[in-house]
């Protein structure tokens, strides 16, 4: 039985952000509320993040419903981020999703967090089949659809780009997340200091760069120049692997998404890459770029419409769920 029209509540909580969004089956985002754990100092501890989700979650969900102008009984579908992510965070989020599905007697769908980033980007841009550059605190992946799966053509061999920026920023006394502060500093920098540029096929590595940047910092190089050098090197590497993926797959659309997609310089570089290959380019807008519930809700609708259901009994979380492990039943491109 299919209930139409669908109003889906999507709940996201894979890492430091908790979000709830309401989306209609027409692809209209009715609300999208989130809150991010931002410690006074240091990084993200999984236990603290999961506590943040259980403490703030119910209010965020209530707020999402209010902003969407609906009551709990108007929800016809619950979708939640089933993975990949930090175990404690995923479990706190799944618990809320299960309780709501049981209480409201509506179906439950488990969504892959990375796939959701791509689908919400496609909804916003109207793209059908892009090469997606997904960059955040926990992920650095170049993904494209092939043979019924979203396949990871390239990824980081060690740490994610956002993680590299955060750890460097922490050394400099910046608060988490450090990306925006680094971007501000970089705008004032102009002198380039060479940093290790590490591209292996379509993969990148950022740990060597991080070590070198921290060493340069002890040599009293002006912070703006250092941030400028870090950005140019790190984004240059991404541009190259994205370009390899475009040349290899011959796809005509490039989508930039994830929290680090908010960086303007990165958008500018990838727009240049897309132009060289006559591909269309879109950067997902800030409200939909980071981790939030609307992307989970929208992907939940796509999955549900294609016949996907998840019983509460089988709704265990998948902390190591790979992007390419899920059959994408709702896309029929090849």
């Amino acid at each position: 039985m299919r209930i139409l029209p669908l109003t889906c509540l999507g709940i996201e909580g894979t890492a430091h952000s908790f979000g709830a969004g309401v989306v209609s089956d027409q692809g209209k985002v009715l609300s999208n509320v989130w809150d991010m754990l931002s410690p006074q100092e240091g990084g993200i501890h999984p236990r603290e993040a999961s506590r943040h989700h259980s403490d703030k979650g119910p209010d965020i969900i209530a707020k999402a419903l209010t902003e969407a102008g609906i009551g709990p009984h108007d929800i016809t579908l619950i979708a939640f981020s089933r993975g990949p992510g930090l175990g404690p965070c995923l479990r706190a989020t799944a618990t809320m999703a299960r309780s709501l599905a049981l209480k409201l007697e509506v179906p439950l769908v488990g969504v892959n967090h990375c796939v959701a980033h791509i689908e919400i980007g496609c909804l916003e841009s109207g793209f059908k089949d892009p090469v997606t550059v997904y960059v955040s605190g926990g992920n650095t992946q170049v993904i494209a659809f092939a043979g019924n799966r979203f396949r990871t053509f390239g990824e980081t061999l060690d740490i994610a780009i956002g993680n590299m920026l955060d750890v460097f920023g922490r050394t400099m006394g910046m608060r988490f997340p450090a990306g925006p502060a680094i971007e501000q500093e970089a705008m004032k920098g102009h002198r380039y200091y060479s940093l290790p540029y590490s591209v292996k096929g379509m993969d990148v590595s950022y740990s060597g760069m991080l070590t070198a940047a921290r060493r340069l910092q002890t040599e009293h190089i002006p912070l703006p120049d250092l941030c400028f050098s870090i950005q140019e090197t790190a984004f240059g590497m991404l541009a190259e692997v994205a370009e390899r993926a475009i040349a290899h797959t011959k796809k005509g659309e490039v989508l930039l998404t994830g929290g680090v997609a908010r960086n303007r310089r990165l958008g500018e570089i990838l727009a240049g890459v897309a132009a060289r290959h006559n591909a269309r380019f879109h950067t997902v807008t800030p409200p939909l770029a980071g981790d939030q519930g609307a992307m989970i809700a929208w992907t939940g609708i796509l999955q549900y419409t294609a016949g996907d259901r998840l019983s509460v009994a089988e709704s265990y979380v998948l902390p190591k769920w790979r992007t390419d492990e899920q059959d994408i039943t709702w896309r029929n491109l090849s």
Binding site: P84, T152, F153, L157, I159, K200, H277
Partner: protein, 214 residues
């Protein structure tokens, strides 16, 4: 005396280069040109173009000395980031794979694995060992191309990354034939290296898990 005119035909566009086909003394050759990328910082762009053109030209010859078939380099122009080399009449393994009978595909992959092993035995890694960079010519001979990311003095880690990239390329591009292709490629690799293959093979599995969100 008339200036000789090169008739250039744009042959292919790669991620970092444009390939032109032309003739020299009646023989077909290709020019691999690394153009400027205006969206990159100039310092980075020039450093990459220079080091890669330089490295590719040396590595094509070095890999041949290790027993891997590579196109002969005719000349290089480091100012213009251009390499002139033999034109290989044939097709990429990427395009061929789905058209071949399984037995033939196994043979080619076995040979591909052996070629990679020859480089690794000489402590060289290819750096971008995808099926786009394996050519099969009209006489069924296998060639390796695109050495811009190749490196000398390769450690076990670097060889492990090379194997990881092969596995990745097969998973993403040849998802419906990946098992046959990977098995045959690794068989060829082990066939040539024997027990020396072990460290790089185990490292390949370690590397796969490393960058993942756990």
């Amino acid at each position: 005396m008339e200036e000789p005119v090169l008739r250039l035909e744009k042959w292919a566009m790669g991620a970092e280069s444009t390939i032109f086909k032309t003739e020299q003394w009646g023989y077909p050759i290709v020019l691999k040109w690394r153009p400027q990328k205006p969206y990159l910082l100039k310092d980075i762009d020039e450093l990459l173009k220079k080091t890669r053109t330089n490295r590719e030209c040396k590595m094509l010859t070095h890999a041949r000395a290790l027993g891997v078939s590579t196109p002969t380099v005719h000349w290089t122009d480091l100012e213009n980031y251009t390499i002139a080399m033999d034109f290989i009449e044939g097709r990429q393994l990427k395009q061929l794979a789905s058209t071949l009978p399984e037995s033939r595909l196994r043979e080619i992959c076995f040979e591909f694995g052996q070629s990679v092993a020859r480089m690794h035995r000489g402590n060289v890694v290819h750096g971008d060992p995808t099926t786009s960079n394996v050519l099969i010519d009209t006489r069924s001979r296998l060639w390796m191309v695109d050495f811009g990311l190749a490196e000398w003095n390769a450690t076990t880690e670097m060889k492990g990354v090379d194997l990881h990239l092969i596995r990745r390329a097969l998973e993403t591009t040849h998802w419906d034939q990946q098992e046959v292709m990977l098995t045959a490629t690794l068989e060829g690799y082990v066939n040539l290296l024997g027990s020396e293959a072990e460290p790089a093979l185990s490292r390949m599995d370690v590397i796969r898990e490393r960058g993942r969100y756990h």
